[in-house]
Amino acid sequence: MIPLTKRSTRRLETTLVSYSRQSLPRPARLYSSPSKSAHAPAFALGSRAPDPLDNVPEATPVTRAKKQQQMQVTHAQDGSVTDFGVSETAVEVEHEVPFNLANLRKHLAQVILARRVLPEDVAARQKLLEESVYDVAVERLKHQAELFDEIGLTNKGLGNNDLRKWMWEWHQKLKVRLKAEIATLAVEESKLSDGRGIRLSPFLTLLKPEKLSLITILELMHLQGGAGASKVMKIARALLSVGRAVEIEYKAEMCKKNNITMPSNPARGGDHGYFSRLGYRDLHARRVAAAKYMEDAEEWTSDWSQIIRVKVGAFLVDLLMDVGTVVRTAVDRRTGETVSEEQPAFVHSYEYQRGHKLGVIKLNSIVAERIAKDTVRETLHPRHLPMLVKPKPWLGHDEGGYLYNKTSVMRYKESTEQQIYLRQASNLGNVELVYAALDVLSTTPWKINRDVFEVVLKVWNSGERFHKLPPAVYDQPEPQKPEDFDFDPKAKAIYITRQRAWYNDKANNHSDRCNVNYKVEIARTFLGDTFYLPHNVDFRGRAYPIPPHLNHIGDDLSRGLLKFGESKPLGERGLRWLKIHLSNLYGFDKASFNDRVAFVDQHLADIYDSAEKPLEGRRWWTTADDAWQCLAACIELRNALESGDPHAFESSLPVHQDGTCNGLQHYAALGGDDRGARQVNLDVTDKPSDVYTYVANMVEEQLVKDIEKGNPMAQLLSGKIARKVVKQTVMTTVYGVTFIGAREQIEKQLKDRLDIPVEECWLAANYLAKLVLHCIGDLFSAAKDIQNWLNTCARLIAKSIPPERLSDTLRPTPPSQKGRPAPEQTLYARMRKEQMTSVIWTTPLGLPIVQPYRQEKRKQIMTSLQSVFISDPNSPAMVNSQKQASAFPPNFVHSLDATHMMLTALECRTRNITFASVHDSYWTHAASVDDMSVIIRETFIGLHSSNVLQRLHEEFCERYKGYKVPLPSIRTMIPKLPRTANILQISDDKESRTLDEQAVEDLRLKAGGLPIEEEPEEVEEDQGEEEDEEEKPKKKKAKRGGKRVVSSELNLDDKFVNLTDLLPPVPKKGIFDVDRVKNSLYFFS
């Protein structure tokens, strides 16, 4: 084990503190000059890692495909898989080159060829991979159409409903039509006088009509393919997608045209490591230099507005609907004749959904059916695929990841504010560690686990339902129509309910199947290659791989298919960890490590059987919690044990270390909560403690007490509170689960138990949820205090108004320009509109986080199809203070766990340990687990020794200095206002004066007698609560009366309090010393 030195921890701390404090980002406008990033030391850009593709066997072209199967593998002489065929069962044709997915192989072949020709130029190789799908798709559809022509399948009306043939036909018509229409449009728009309306033709001429046509067709098909159960596409979404696809394609084209060259990753954290001042400066300097290298802030890089996207989308989709037709045949039930009709493939219509009239695009049922049979694999875009070369390092907030597809480092939720803050922080050099950590994650090499893949493929090709893999043909019988269908309304209703459920399941089965299909096909394509998953972060700083289909964050299947691209000899400890890992995956993860090892030793026969005869044998692995990963571990363990020298066995299987209830771990550390810390394994124990069982037991005890009181519900539930019943609720407390949420979770668990009458479940859940939440609050009282503190801070911030807006607010509304007098608005109403402050904080790594929750404002946009309502991220809107407050605690904790993960990633890279993560599950080679464990603890201690909450408080005080909270917004708090808070009276001539003590005291007294007047909480449908209210109609009346008193007699309207005076002090820390984590065995395990 690498000894944890006090020095290294302290070094980490100081870096964290000094960097984030010094570089606390303020709202952008407050900055006058960018911080002076000191003289950048000279450095070499090209410290290059060894070529990842060096040992990959060469791919040979496909030989031939068999027809009956949907898919098969071709092996080269050395046994490596070289290619796959996918053949259509519908068309019994022998063709030399199976086309479909092979398209990707073609890409790869080109890349490999390029590697030979251009061994040094990684960029050129990935460039080939990222070559536009649309170019390739045209080729492919054309090829297909020619093929059909040759064999004479082109006659219409022969039931030849091939998706690709249709798409080819639509494409042929659409590209011609587009060319003509765009030309006409350009002429018309040139006649427009300046500044009137938006011109579309400049945007539509950026790409060739051929490409526009393909984008439209493929994007719609892709959307429908992913639509799953619902058969219709919402129009706004469809138009935006098409518009955005055009934008992305255009930018990718520009990127390639400009042939931007790429600096490669710095392999390690420089000479100074990440966590020294010098090292950090070095990191920053390198990035700035690299970014300059690429600077190309030309106009084309700017984002299109939503309006443009929608309008471009509408123009294209409109024309596609016009030209896209299919021929259908059917039998006339009166004459018995077969008739055929040419019908549109897509139609635009309206539907009511939950009382709202929505524009939708519907597919002709024959097309929809076809999509359900074929997958729309043509629509796989390179931006959905892993990368063959190391991703571009993050050089700026929108510069990194894929080489030619512009990607943003953060997934904004349409929040311009976030983007501005991040850009600013990035320019100031405050987020170097975040970029560097993402680069670490992005450059972890991966491979497909071939052994697992072969099993998956076999099962997949059989088309049968198998352990969460959906069957090719939905295997549940359709419900029978009852005989009394027409006469008995009840029988009819039941039948329809069942049939609806059946259709729904069938559709879900299909979308599951598509989903798996993507994974299998991508895995197949990348078999034998080393590849990389570029990462970016969500707005809280949590890292995610960008390729959506196959990645290690995905389900059990995805994870089972992946292993590290590099291997390390197991060693003695590694072998032990491999066994523990296997035991964890099987589900035996509550026992001590020794017991887990013993568990595996006892099951060696099963493990061998699983590894050697995964399908033919006893299938022990399929009974595991995570079956596919378990299979992978079985195979790895067997291979190691059979290798002759297990300790020397080169293992590349990722071994996981998971935090036990990670959110609560952070809370316990933040609050120094001794009791809580023990429950989530922060403290030293010889056996892992299981918080879920503990809470379940607490609830049981409570039940016993209630039984004594004669509570029948307690009687009913006694002895039935398993760990499982409370698990989800305990887990989600951290994320601020509400009572309603908890009740639903528990109700579901109770129903699944089947031993409680269904009709009792709701009431039982209602009762139980109260108990569970109470027990959790009791057990994690410190966590609850912190949650409340965070919540209060956020609520106050969301109610505050920045000083520069205040004077505007106080001015009465100017009369509207149209001559009509503006409706008289009270000062308070105007002020409420100005409450636009969102909660912003900086993670210890310097990442600014802006909560995006605002009242949604939608804008109507007229398009050629219909008018569409879309939200406009640029228009200022009131914050949703409810959401700001309730989401802050979980977001804050997520920002901490993200920080912990990134610190660990960086430190792992420094010590040359392979690292990957799924939020609070950290992965490395079996041999490196011990080293990583040390790092995990070290970074956790480092993070929590830096007084996180106190710093948050200070940050709030600095950031929101001068912000004022209108008194009417916090009416309930008046009696409890801290003595330090001055109540200010501000009038529109900007003069503000502090009320004297007597006046404040009066206010307090008067307000003290006032009933509560709060903003309505988010109303959740709940009968129980309504019944509770039964007793207090009188109070309600008083409430209404109270409001009047407050607003008229006391006149709070022009009175304010400084936000910083209101922020409550940080909750007191308990006695738990976070340093104890160092020796906790089961902290992460």
Partner: protein, 389 residues
């Protein structure tokens, strides 16, 4: 102040059709569980309970009498003697009590369905004083409840009456419909059972008497070429004959007749769905000739729902929303070979189409080889009896 239900002297009919007989009968009864006085209803049945909030109950005994009379006697479409009455949503029973006060010759059996306990407590005691009464703690909204009635043998003595032999002489259905979404679903379901002769209509053309909100009634009876015209009004027109039981003004103002009262319920609902809407009492009888063929009910449903999404659009432009390719049906509807009365003016807006137009459109759609197959499935939202899933 306790006011006896059948107390003498308090009754003065506002009805234009006073019934001498009912007066003579009242003294035979003793109410075992008198209803609370009108001004105490709020305390007994507070509107914080869903069953109070979402339902409207007659709280005035006079109103009950007025309606009982107007449902079963005089000019009512359902007037008759020796009836078997099923009453759903009785509330605590102002109307039920009035029905029992009618001459015994009028009603031979009264089956009351009430699932909410507080109301039930005011109904159950009636069984003890009148052998004609059965009170069941079940919900009139679910189909199951009617199976329960049959299983209990309560309808064994009701004969099946030939559909073409006139209105069913015995069976009669009475309900005070909830004013929320359940009520609306219930209302539209009643009509949809007629073409297939299902539910109570398997016994024949059973008359119904309903108390419902004015907006709901307006939608159900909206004539063509009005803005309120909708799917329910088309189906109602095609299936049944509708009649106001009393002048709507006789049930005004709302607060004098119904509970919960207007001012007590704070609601964010649209005005038409809020409590306190004017209510009407109506009689409904199925047509002898059903325009909707029983095997085409789903087609009617589908066509009406799809097209009424665009109710102010001319038919010729709205057809696309029926199904891809459906505009070809326009040719069928305007075929010059057809006699003029079998053609549809495709320039008419959806809401202006007459019942005859609709029949022609549905016929064309039914005959179209490409009409969607999964009508029933996509109709799912229409299938009400929500509580059985």
């Amino acid at each position: 102040m306790q006011r006896s239900l059948f107390g003498a002297g308090t009754c003065s009919f506002r009805s234009s059709r006073p019934s001498a007989i009912s007066r003579t009968c009242r003294r035979h009864f003793h109410d075992p569980k008198p209803l609370p006085p009108q001004d105490e209803w709020r305390a007994h049945f507070p509107s914080s309970f869903v069953d109070v909030r979402d339902r409207v109950s007659i709280n005035n005994l006079e109103t009950g009498r007025l309606l009982a009379d107007s449902f079963l006697s005089g000019k009512s479409l359902g007037a008759g003697e020796n009836k078997v009455v099923i009453e759903a949503y009785p509330g605590p029973g102002a109307l039920s009590r009035a029905l029992l006060r009618l001459p015994k010759s009028k009603i031979r059996k009264l089956i009351i369905l009430e699932s909410w306990d507080r109301f039930y407590q005011y109904l159950k005691p009636l069984e003890a004083v009148d052998p004609r009464v059965t009170v069941l703690p079940i919900d009139g909204y679910t189909w199951d409840s009617y199976s329960v009635i049959e299983e209990k043998g309560l309808l064994d003595d009701v004969m099946k009456h030939d559909w073409n032999a006139g209105i069913h002489p015995e069976l009669h259905f009475i309900a005070q419909l909830p004013h929320g979404v359940y009520g609306e679903q219930f209302f539209s379901q009643l009509f949809r059972c007629m073409p297939t002769k299902s539910w109570l209509f398997k016994y024949g053309r059973v008359p119904m008497s309903l108390v419902l909100s004015q907006p709901m009634w307006d939608r159900g009876t909206a004539p063509y070429a009005t803005n309120a015209r909708c799917k329910v009004s088309v189906i109602a027109e095609a299936t049944s004959q509708l009649q106001n039981a009393v002048r709507p003004s006789e049930l005004q103002p709302y607060d004098d007749h119904f509970h919960p009262s207007t001012s007590r319920v704070v609601s964010k609902k649209a005005e038409s769905k809020r409590a306190g809407q004017p209510h009407v009492a109506v009689n409904v009888v199925p047509h002898q000739d059903q325009l909707i063929r029983s095997d085409q009910l789903d087609h009617w449903d589908y066509v009406l729902r799809r097209l009424f999404v665009l109710k102010s659009t001319p038919l010729k432009n709205a057809m696309n929303s029926l199904a891809p390719g459906a505009p070809t049906l326009l040719k069928v509807l305007t075929d010059p070979e057809l006699p003029p009365e079998e053609r549809v003016n495709i320039n008419d807006k959806i809401k202006n189409l007459t019942i005859k137009d609709w029949a022609l459109i549905v016929r064309a759609f039914y005959n179209w080889p490409f009409s969607p197959e999964d009508l029933t499935f996509s109709n799912a939202e229409d299938f009400g009896p929500g509580r059985e899933g």
